[in-house]
Symmetry: C2
Subunit: 415 residues, 2 copies
């Protein structure tokens, strides 16, 4: 079945917003096994909208429209579809009372203009909007399925997940199920080389997505039920787990800081940080997790050398002999943070983020990560990261979390 996406709105043609809906929908259509040959964008102009709808109907069986469903005069999508498909607009009473109730419950005044959003082409099925006021609709006419959804992604996406996706699955007789595996400590190209055979599969598909300092794999199966799809994914995931071992750290929305935090909580361990070149970014990521106060105590941002001495107890002799970016300083920073914060574990970061401050001996991108644990010798790892200041700092934070996770895994294994 061929599909076509039509994004509607003059703001898209002025470049004021980036059309992320089109990519979102394209990905969902691909998963559903629909072929997408064209995506089009038109402004709020009736003549051009109707012409583009007719063009789309000449080359696709499913047309997905986004945008132009609001109450103002330049919202013309419903009327355009009505004209192009000869299905005059009529009031959808369910949509009308839904809009009325929404405004009433929020205590907001509403004008008759709002009811414009309840006008739909004759025979259309309403698509509920759980977030905003504008419902969408699905029209089947002359063998063509036209879907109309509002433009804001925070409204369009839940409507797709709750209604439209299932409807299209029904048309194609398939459901789509996805699972994202998250990896750390391994690059995209290495992972691709390991899994080339699995990535060649078409159902389930295995697709890599490179993020800053980590890689995600999305496994997607098309089947007649969720259970069937899960059963198709399970052996592929098991094979990937077998090949990649500890590099797989989380599933779907699990971030590295969430996974590390969970391990700390499970073992009743507390954590402190000592940050130099990252200036607080590691603490910022750790505390991005709700409930992180269960295990994260805090720490010291020791940007100036004097604070490395005063707040962390790094020895002046160490700083003088080895410098602030050195194995010895990273060690003393981690140990100082652990002791002064009274934590069982502490991580330190000291490095040269650039663009200035690098030398032949200590180039930009050189970062030392220290890990102190109660009762064992402190470990320090040296990294040389490639990239600009933003990238070097982000990678340093990421590798600090990877190091912490490795330590917690080892603790678990030895327990």
């Amino acid at each position: 079945m061929r599909a076509e996406i039509l994004s509607i709105g003059t703001e898209l043609l002025l470049g004021q917003i980036i059309d992320t809906n089109a990519a979102y929908i394209a990905e969902r259509l691909a998963e559903a096994g629909l072929s997408l040959y064209f995506k089009d964008t038109v402004g709020d102009n009736m003549e051009r909208l109707v012409a583009t709808l007719r063009l789309a109907a000449s080359r696709a069986e499913v047309i997905i429209c986004t945008g132009g469903l609001g109450p103002t005069a330049d919202d013309i999508t419903a009327e355009g579809i009505a004209i192009a498909f000869d299905a005059p607009l009529e009031m959808n009473e369910v949509a009308k009372s839904g809009i009325e109730n929404l405004f009433r419950s929020r205590g907001r005044p509403f004008t008759d203009r709002q009811f414009k959003q309840a006008m739909m082409p004759q025979g259309a099925i309403m698509v509920p909007n759980p977030v905003g006021t504008a419902p969408g609709f699905i029209l089947n006419k002359d063998g063509i399925t036209v879907v109309a959804l509002p433009g804001p992604p925070q409204e369009m996406q839940p409507m797709w997940l709750q209604t439209v996706g299932h409807y299209l699955s029904g048309l194609s007789g398939a459901i789509i199920y996805s699972r994202t595996l998250r990896f750390c400590g391994i690059g995209e190209s290495v992972l691709e080389a390991h899994l080339e055979d699995l990535m060649a599969g078409t159902n389930p598909t295995v697709a890599p997505y490179a993020k800053l300092a980590e890689v995600h794999l999305r496994l997607t199966a098309r089947a007649s039920s969720v259970e069937e799809a899960q059963a198709m994914i399970a052996p592929v995931e098991a094979e990937i787990r077998q090949r990649e071992g500890w590099h797989l750290y989380g599933i779907d929305e699990e971030t590295l800081e969430l996974v590390v935090g969970r391990m700390l909580r499970e073992r009743s361990l507390t954590l402190a940080v000592a940050e130099s070149c990252t200036g607080g970014l590691l603490g910022g990521r750790l505390t991005g997790v709700p409930g992180s106060s269960d295990y994260f105590l805090g720490g010291v941002i020791s940007y100036a050398n004097r604070l490395k001495e005063d707040l962390l107890g790094v020895r002046a002799a160490t700083l003088a002999a080895d410098g602030a970016v050195s194995e010895a300083t990273a060690r003393e920073m981690a140990e100082g943070a652990r002791q002064r914060c009274g934590a069982q574990l502490a991580v330190s970061i000291t490095g040269i983020a650039g663009p200035d401050g690098g030398t032949d001996e200590k180039p930009v991108g050189l970062v030392y990560l220290g890990l102190a644990r109660d009762g064992v010798e402190t470990r320090v790892v040296r990294h040389l990261f490639w990239g600009d200041r933003v990238t070097v700092r982000a990678r340093a934070v990421q590798e600090a979390l990877v190091m912490l996770r490795a330590e917690l895994l080892a603790l678990e294994a030895s327990a």
Copy 2:
């Protein structure tokens, strides 16, 4: 003059990448005064590419193509343009030797396949690519101007800025000049209400862009020279400065942390931080500025109450009586950070970022910001931010920087 954008690449139809090029180009075309009625996306399929090029030529005078200029078999843009506009491909010798030199200088092996990127429609003008291997081209044929650029934004954008933008300005006889004014401490709707008359202008245009916790205004003039454009923008900018006063904090790429840092450096002041609910995000932003070690000393992430006492000297009695999220704690945190870090200024943040931990008395979003300065009484400001955990924390950091800037402005005024 009417323009049309054509994005080429199957990866766009699979939703694997978001088409940010289209929005970038749309914005540049709008600034250049070209009308954009349609944007289209097609995959790497010759029949559909040629059909779409012919459709575009039937309704626009300028067609901008991105993507499909690489060396592999599925890169078909040049050939598609050659077919659609009856301008057979031929080797562009300048492009050829450029590619040859690039590979040689990088010591990389190259195959004849690379020369495919030097094949251009007869009569096309080469567009140099300062970043990658694939040059672009501009073809004028039958009253239509076709521009072909590579897909990666980091290649496309400099090619636009260096060559294509000027070429199109030449066609339309205009140059485009933009300047972004950055505001803090004022919302988009208030700014729009203040500047409604100026925003109604068409040359220069004044367009607002809401960012997380700040607003930018982009002033764009179309003129026959940069000097003329600057002269058109100057009185509008002066009027905006007059109306908005201290809310205007920076120009173009100047971030709030950069501006605050510059003020600290100019006055030879040093800064420390004490962060609770933001966990290091303020330190992270401050140290994102290269050279911030000139004025930023560091600070304490006092997530646990015990660290507020041990590392900052907040009194146990204060925590017991007023709680960690209180005016008194914010005050003692700022003063403790200032003294223990030996800084002239210190900023503290303590609040409830959510989603849990809120009460009727102290709801989620409640944040106290403290500012301690050598020799004067510490100030504390209470905020109630709306939004999720990410938003509350980002706004807290932003308002801490706004508070710091206000203090530095006041110091300047009293000096």
